[in-house]
């Protein structure tokens, strides 16, 4: 739609006719998000990346109106879509930029989901409608400077006071949307186990300095959260969960969005390489006529189509209520690896132009390094799947 692919457009974009696996509404939603990204994100995002900014207010409002924030949740102003639709939206958003998809993943799956699943009625009433509309932004604080892949080693602690109030202390690290959030869902160690807290970010003792000097996911805000004697009322705790199951279930939701999203990023790299190869003239003709270039383009196309099929299959399983966490790991690990490989190789098809943010490829390539690491690193997902097929845990 956006990028003219030349005479063989149909084949180039959807070789295996995977659209035939989608309903009319799914295609319409997908095309609507694609149109939004083509018109409002792609013309700007290279500059956002260069400058390290993300205009979250405008973006949140528009995609909130479209129903994309917390879209697979029911009630409280959320759209209540299928998981498949949520996935399709993620793919189109990430075809724009992984930072954009991260924003939506964090808002919907990491911040709104725990409030929706484990929050009190008051939490839901207060936060979900404005978050779905894009009027309030959320973040999710699990990772710490000394606790990444092993989140159960976290040090941030919550001590309940005699009057029932909670006192939170600790530091969270690498928190997407941290500095722009109105509300933070913070995980902390309490006497009874790991608890989640709904923390309004304007509260005393809370600060969220932005992490600078990133060369990946630059069109996305990443922050540190500092909790210095943050005093919260007794009812700030999420009543529905008191263990690592809480944050892990959120990650499972977000990872599902990622396994679709990265296919969008890979597709964008493939299409950029294909267009470039058709137009770039060397040795008297387009570089797409060389066998070596064609092999690369066909490898990209094959990888993207396989990734698409994998995501659709896992999407259908999730909507049938049959998708397990290790299967989500399969999707997150495989599709992210696929995307990063396509991005790196596609970058080289663009030659010197490929190293500039005039073209989208190196931006995706750098972004995907973050995606490879967050939401469970490649290795952690390998261990989850290894345990699932052997019965042995190899984490420690």
């Amino acid at each position: 739609m956006s990028t003219p692919l030349g005479p063989k457009a149909e084949n180039a974009r959807d070789f295996l006719a995977t659209d035939s696996l989608l309903s009319e509404e799914e295609i319409m939603l997908r095309d609507t998000v694609r149109r939004y990204v083509d018109k409002e994100i792609l013309p700007e995002v290279g500059a956002w990346f260069d400058e390290g900014v993300f205009p979250h207010k405008e973006v949140a409002k528009t995609i909130g109106d479209m129903g994309l924030l917390g879209m697979h949740l029911e009630g409280y102003g959320c759209a209540g879509s299928s998981a498949m639709m949520y996935g399709l939206a993620c793919a189109e958003l990430e075809a724009g930029d992984s930072g954009l998809r991260s924003f939506v993943s964090v808002q919907g799956s990491l911040a709104m989901f725990p409030i929706w699943a484990y929050g009190s009625e008051e939490h839901k009433q207060e936060w979900l409608p404005p978050m779905a509309a894009g009027d309030a932004i959320g973040c999710f604080g699990l990772t710490e400077p000394d606790s990444g892949s092993d989140p159960s080693s976290m040090r941030t602690n919550a001590k309940q006071q005699p009057n029932g109030d909670w006192l939170l202390n600790g530091t969270k690290m690498w928190i997407t949307n941290g500095s722009i959030a109105d509300v933070a869902v913070v995980w902390a160690r309490a006497d009874e186990g790991i608890r989640g807290f709904v923390v309004p970010t304007n509260i005393e003792g809370f600060s969220a300095p932005k992490i600078e000097r990133k060369v990946s996911l630059r069109a996305s805000v990443t922050s540190e959260l500092i909790l210095d004697n943050v005093r919260l009322p007794a009812d700030a705790v999420l009543p529905g969960v008191a263990s690592m199951r809480g944050p892990l279930s959120c990650l499972n939701e977000a990872r599902f969005g990622i396994l679709f999203g990265v296919v969008g990023a890979a597709r964008a790299c493939y299409e950029a390489a294909l267009n470039y190869a058709n137009e770039r003239i060397q040795f008297g003709g387009p570089i797409s006529r060389f066998q070596l270039t064609q092999q690369r383009l066909v490898d990209f196309m094959t990888a993207v189509q396989q990734g698409t099929l994998l995501s659709y299959h896992l999407g259908r399983l999730k909507d049938q209520g049959e998708l397990g966490p290790a299967q989500v790991s399969f999707g997150k690990r495989q599709n992210t690896r696929m995307a990063i490989e396509v991005a790196r190789e596609a970058r080289s098809v663009l030659g010197a132009n490929g190293i500039t943010t005039e073209y989208p490829v190196i931006r995706h390539m750098n972004n995907l390094e973050s995606v490879y690491t967050y939401e469970g690193t490649n290795e952690i997902h390998t261990l989850i799947m290894g345990q699932a097929i052997t019965g042995h845990s190899a984490f420690a």
């Binding site: 509404e25 319409m28 609507t32 149109r35 939004y36 109106d65 639709m85």
Partner: protein
């Protein structure tokens, strides 16, 4: 052109108290081949092949948005759509329904192949006639055919006032106040309803269909009509009914290299002379 509409003097443009009433707005929406992947001209008929999936003409998304805003401002009423398209194509209509229109009428009939702009207007007018619309909105010109004549022709056929190139529309009682884009700025026009207006592209920000809108679109009624249902005989429409014929299609001439004025200290004089010769200054 707008017999019953008149241009207001500046002093007459006062903010009149808006009396609200339910608004019924009909929007003409053309469904066209995706301009990013437009397909080809049929060498025999010299018209665009329309056997691909059609989409909502972006030019008409502004009309749909404006209509939705007018109905929202009125607090009551509805937006309905009319479209003439081949092969019962309704993907473009679905987009406009997902944006918030309530229902649509689709005129599709093999007999209509080859219909020219005037006959298109007659057919759309026949579809609109009995709908009891307060306002009919169309795009100033479509993105593919681009004759920019259909809205005015609809107005003429329906004997309604026509206001072109609207950049904003406000309802005031039984009138509309229209700002009409001109080269110099805009005219302020007051016009009784019902009326036909054409909307300039870019004057409103068309909303993206929301998830809920998309899910609701499928169950919204789309009434299909044939030319005969609207009282047309076969020879009044299609190729035989067309008063126009496309006699030739030619490649647009490639752009010629421009003149380069080297600045020898007198460049500004040459530039002014050149602009004067074009009568732009």
């Amino acid at each position: 052109m707008c017999r019953r509409a008149h241009v207001l003097g500046l002093d007459q443009v006062v903010k009149l108290s808006s009396t609200m009433h339910a608004m019924k707005v009909v929007v003409c929406v053309k469904q066209i081949p995706d301009p990013a992947d437009p397909g080809a001209l049929d060498p025999e008929t010299r018209t665009l092949k329309r056997d691909v999936k059609l989409i909502l003409d972006e030019s008409d998304s502004y009309g749909v948005e404006m209509a939705l805003q007018l109905v929202e401002a009125a607090g009551e009423g509805e937006v309905t759509l009319v479209s003439m398209a081949p092969n019962n194509e309704r993907s473009g209509l679905a987009t406009a329904l997902a944006m918030g229109a309530a229902s649509a009428t689709l005129v599709s009939d093999p007999a209509l192949v080859g219909t020219d702009a005037l006959t298109t207007a007659k057919i759309l007018a026949a579809t609109i006639k009995d709908q009891g619309a307060d306002l009919v909105i169309a795009g100033s010109e479509s993105s593919d055919g681009y004759t920019g004549t259909v809205p005015e022709q609809i107005a003429a056929v329906l004997d309604l006032p026509s206001v072109t190139a609207a950049k904003s529309v406000e309802v005031d009682g039984s009138n509309i106040l229209v700002k009409r884009q001109t080269d110099a700025g805009y005219d302020s026009i007051i016009c009784p309803m019902p009326a036909v207006i054409s909307v300039t592209a870019g004057v409103v920000e068309p909303r993206y269909p929301s998830f809920k809108g998309i899910m609701a679109a499928k169950s919204k009624p789309v009434e299909e009509k044939l030319a005969a249902d609207l009282g047309f005989e076969e020879d009044q429409v299609g190729w035989s009914g067309s008063g126009q014929e496309i006699v030739e299609v030619a490649e647009a001439p490639t752009r010629e290299a421009g003149d380069i004025i080297e600045d020898d200290g007198e460049a500004h004089v040459k530039i002014v002379e050149f602009l004067e010769s074009l009568k732009v200054i």
